[in-house]
Symmetry: C2
Subunit: 599 residues, 2 copies
């Protein structure tokens, strides 16, 4: 059975040593996040996820969820009890607002917990996974009454929130959605329609479920300008605010999926279900995107988490499994064979996984810190800069993080050979679970389009240029001892600048050229962003070594991994630039019927 | 449900137009392969695989195989009947030797059939998939008595062959194997041991199963120099040569796997099972490698086949599913949304799949033609050159073909979004099935090591240099109208030459440096090999268009896809070169205990 130990040491390095979180102590919520407090929280969060949640992962995969004839759903053995402990220990409330019962800690600590939780059990994590997004959407767009009614028990975890967007004919293109919302005399609405891919749409963990549902009012204009957001609970509340009458929403079936079997992905039928408008009529997408942006950062954490868990298990296997002889001088003469880890190609996969997970962790947490700063920084200028940065990085963290996360699980499965392909070792589950992160909350092609078609274009490339300039400047300022990464990164970032310019110029001529180069641009941005993280981590590690502080093996490993990243990943920048610049001509030329094999 | 139509038009293009197979008509077996005959065989093979085999694919995945208490195994519904038709129609015998009842056609036509069969149902294909290898191993190393006893009914398909190599503690490193072979008075051996990952080790398709088993005789030296190969049938034959007494080999269990559920992957227990030596004692690996090399080319066909089937279904979905609006001028004003295929990023994935499948098909068939030429070419020089080329290309076809085949199934699944993740559409099965091809018959890291550590090094890079020079020369000779691919390919091949030189030089200093760069070298070799195929296909297409022959849309699509390949895939050559040259230092520096999280 696979085993997971939360990477607490690395998190403490990022938060305390790399970011120096205590320097933000003057900001609300950060005053509590002293280094000692951070250490305690991180270690305890790690223990909870490693000991209580991780053992559920294979069970959840094998049992899946059960839909009963009465429409109720049973989650896998152990999920309910673990969720009770999750609520009791307050892990879900870390970064939630104090005024509704949350702990009001920095969002960055919530992101730490999210990585651990999704690494331990992706399917379990998805049940509470939308809480932050639901709370943020209601906080920012809901009426005071809605807030008072729903937030305290969403924050405490007594109830769980879901997001009901997709319909059979309507996924990415929400403008097509058909679910109707008829106004009722009491100011509420009657919601009718079918939603699919509704994660956690039914479960047995909480006494109520609070669905956030997109629907159209009777006079709504067509397309995305006629979509409104509603709160639709599973149970209506009585006068005391307790769940009472069953609302008109039922789980019709549970999808059979490639992975995340422990999460109930429902087809949900809304039949005149009572709901309340969140924010303004026809402005539902804006409210939904508050939730969606939070969800997208979570997905980055999921890609990272699955990669980390898979890596730990593959690394242990590689150290234990004896197979073949070292090519170099590392042979153990006393054994019949050497452990797999002596083989350079096995090391290549492990080092690549390490370079991704540690780099991605730094990027995810740095991005999450921007979420905090966008709300809490002292000056409007700082808040705007942080907001622009995280807005640019969100599709990168989601798209690049889930792509590379999935690829890492595949690589780690490969290390076990045939043993990775059979269910017993659990490696195939990491692959099957991680796969969904590339698809949901906006498929990665949509992330690329968001990055290139919106985030890059809307300000004429200003945010992108600032981001690339930041990297350039840090490369230029790096000391000679960091040249092994600062020099290649400094060159690679020119490819980023050139790609951005080419996309802007080509896109102005032909919108398809922008779409055609968008994916390569996302991969390039991700590669450079991780490069920046590795430059910074190398700098911090070099400083610590020079100062003789802490465990030298830890900091030496950081320096070597930074070098590996520079050697193995930064060379891809050239290829991405070529791809981004190539335009749409060859891509669009073949008639659709020929591609479909009909001509 | 997914639907598969064998790509017969493209195969006919490759075999008749690109290769001009009739030019080899003076060689044995090729005389039968006239263009008309090739067309008839290819179309009929396509029909058989599309109509009879493909409908079994999802059934096989859902039902899997069943092990009964008596040790017998039932294959999924329909497999037995389809196998009967497979034998009756003689598809398995195409390229097998006429002296034992085969049709004696060129191997290249067998490779065509192998692609179609594995595309239609990977799990089904695996049952007869080792026949060619088993027959070749017995042909080349077995005694006349063994040949007479086993070959006719292996060739006809009345019995199926398997390969029993792996043991629980021994996968890649066959030197560790423990299965014992005790000589018996009658010249046979009693085989005892446990084999795992034994594909088709038990089934209900044939009246006997002929296992080729690696084992050690009592006085055998340790390691790979003490391994012998044995024929061990499920049933011993009576005096008439009919299956009679049950031999001492039993299926102990069937593995639960990520995919290929329709194939019984057995744990097989040999308990004094009677077996006969194939070839010389302690020379089993040489005989086994005859079988293994055939199997590795098959695996390339499997990667290709799964990619092709997934691509067809994704392309149809992209043409049917309406979602979002075209960015450019392609909007259908009458519909609420445009089909997915208007989106450049969806096109990017489909074009990349097309560039891989068509390029890989040409490479696989060109490689298979070398297998023919290595045996049948007129001069010893031609035979040696063909043998050297296919020996170099085999790990590329296996490793690169299965890697990119898997990646293509993932990309195609992505086009369906959430619908690709649920089981209903069958896209996740392509991913799960294709995954195994990267692992078995030598994991792809082993292929890379075979390529760089053996095929490149053993002649000081001579074959590699000849291969790269071939590409260079064809680029230089290409007309100006082919410059769009010949120019970038001509530049990319320099990276191949530089990488080979660096590997040879670095490897001479440090064997680990060779291992460290081997994977990138395999990816580079594959990228260049497909580039050569695209250059040639573009040339043939341009000639046909200039001559006004055939369907212009087909040839125009070839030219555009060649351009796409040049724009999107050849830029990777630089990165692979950098990686291949980087050496082992950063890869090997971190102590194993640190990687395993124990320090």
């Amino acid at each position: 059975m696979p085993e997971y130990r939360a990477p607490t040491r690395d998190v403490r390095f990022v938060v305390n040593e790399l970011f120096g979180l205590e320097e933000y102590g003057h900001l609300p919520g950060f005053d509590m996040a002293t280094p000692d407090m951070v250490d305690a929280i991180v270690e305890e969060a790690g223990r909870f996820c490693s000991d209580i949640i991780a053992p559920l992962n294979q069970v959840g995969d094998r049992e899946g969820c059960t839909l009963h004839p009465d429409g109720s759903v049973t989650t896998p053995t152990g999920f309910k009890d673990a969720y009770r402990q999750y609520c009791e220990s307050g892990w879900g409330t870390l970064g939630l607002p104090a005024e509704f019962g949350g702990q009001g800690m920095p969002h960055v600590l919530h992101a730490v917990f999210e990585e651990f939780l999704s690494a331990a059990c992706h399917a379990f994590m998805m049940y509470p996974g939308l809480t932050h997004g639901s709370v943020s959407a209601i906080m920012s767009h809901g009426s005071d009454e809605l807030k008072a009614t729903w937030l305290p028990r969403l924050v405490s975890g007594e109830w769980l929130g879901t997001m009901a967007l997709t319909e059979p004919h309507c996924g990415t293109d929400l403008g097509l959605l058909r679910t109707r919302a008829e106004p009722l005399a009491d100011g509420s609405y009657a919601i009718t329609g079918e939603k699919i891919f509704h994660s956690g749409g039914e479960q047995d963990l909480t006494g109520n479920i609070v669905h956030l549902v997109l629907a159209r009012t009777p006079e709504a204009p067509a397309g995305t300008r006629g979509i409104s957001l509603f709160v639709v609970p599973k149970f209506l509340l009585d006068a005391d605010g307790s769940p009472a009458e069953r609302n008109g929403v039922r789980c019709g079936s549970i999808e059979h999926k490639m992975g995340i079997h422990g999460n109930a992905t429902c087809v949900s039928n809304f039949e005149g279900a009572k709901g309340w408008l969140v924010g303004e009529e026809n402005k539902g997408l804006a409210a939904m995107f508050v939730m969606m942006n939070a969800a997208r950062l979570s997905v980055g954490a999921q890609g990272l988490g699955q990669a980390e868990n898979a890596m730990q298990n593959a690394a242990r296997y590689a150290c234990e499994r004896q197979q073949g002889r070292a090519m170099g001088q590392r042979q153990d003469a006393g054994a019949a064979a050497d452990p797999l880890i002596v083989h350079p190609d096995v090391r290549r996969l492990l080092m690549d996984a390490r370079a991704f997970t540690e780099g991605m962790r730094a990027l995810l947490l740095w991005g999450s810190l921007q979420v905090d700063l966008a709300h809490k920084a002292e000056s409007a200028e700082e808040r705007e800069a942080a907001d622009a940065l995280i807005s640019f990085l969100t599709p990168v963290i989601k798209g690049f993080g889930s792509d590379r996360g999935f690829q890492t699980t595949v690589d780690m499965q490969q290390i076990l050979g045939g043993h990775g392909y059979i269910a017993e070792y659990g490696m195939d589950q990491f692959v099957r679970d991680a796969r969904v992160a590339m698809i949901y909350e906006g498929a990665n092609g949509v992330q690329a389009l968001d990055l290139a078609g919106r985030k890059l274009v809307r300000d004429g490339g200003a945010v992108a240029k600032r981001f690339f300039a930041l990297i350039s400047n840090e490369c230029a300022a790096a000391g000679k001892e960091l040249g092994f990464i600062a020099d290649p990164l400094g060159k690679a970032v020119h490819h980023g600048e050139a790609a951005a310019e080419a996309l802007l110029a080509n896109g102005a001529q032909d919108p398809d050229a922008l779409g055609a180069g968008s994916y390569a641009f996302m991969e390039l941005a991700g590669t450079l962003a991780l490069g920046l993280m590795w430059l910074r981590m190398a700098r911090t590690a070099a400083d610590k070594l020079a100062a003789g502080e802490g465990d030298p093996a830890f900091y030496e490993a950081k320096l070597v991994t930074a070098r590996f990243y520079a050697e193995q990943r930064l060379p891809l920048a050239t290829a991405y630039r070529h791809r981004a610049k190539a335009g749409a001509e060859a891509m669009m030329a073949i008639p659709a019927a020929v591609l479909a094999g009909e001509a």
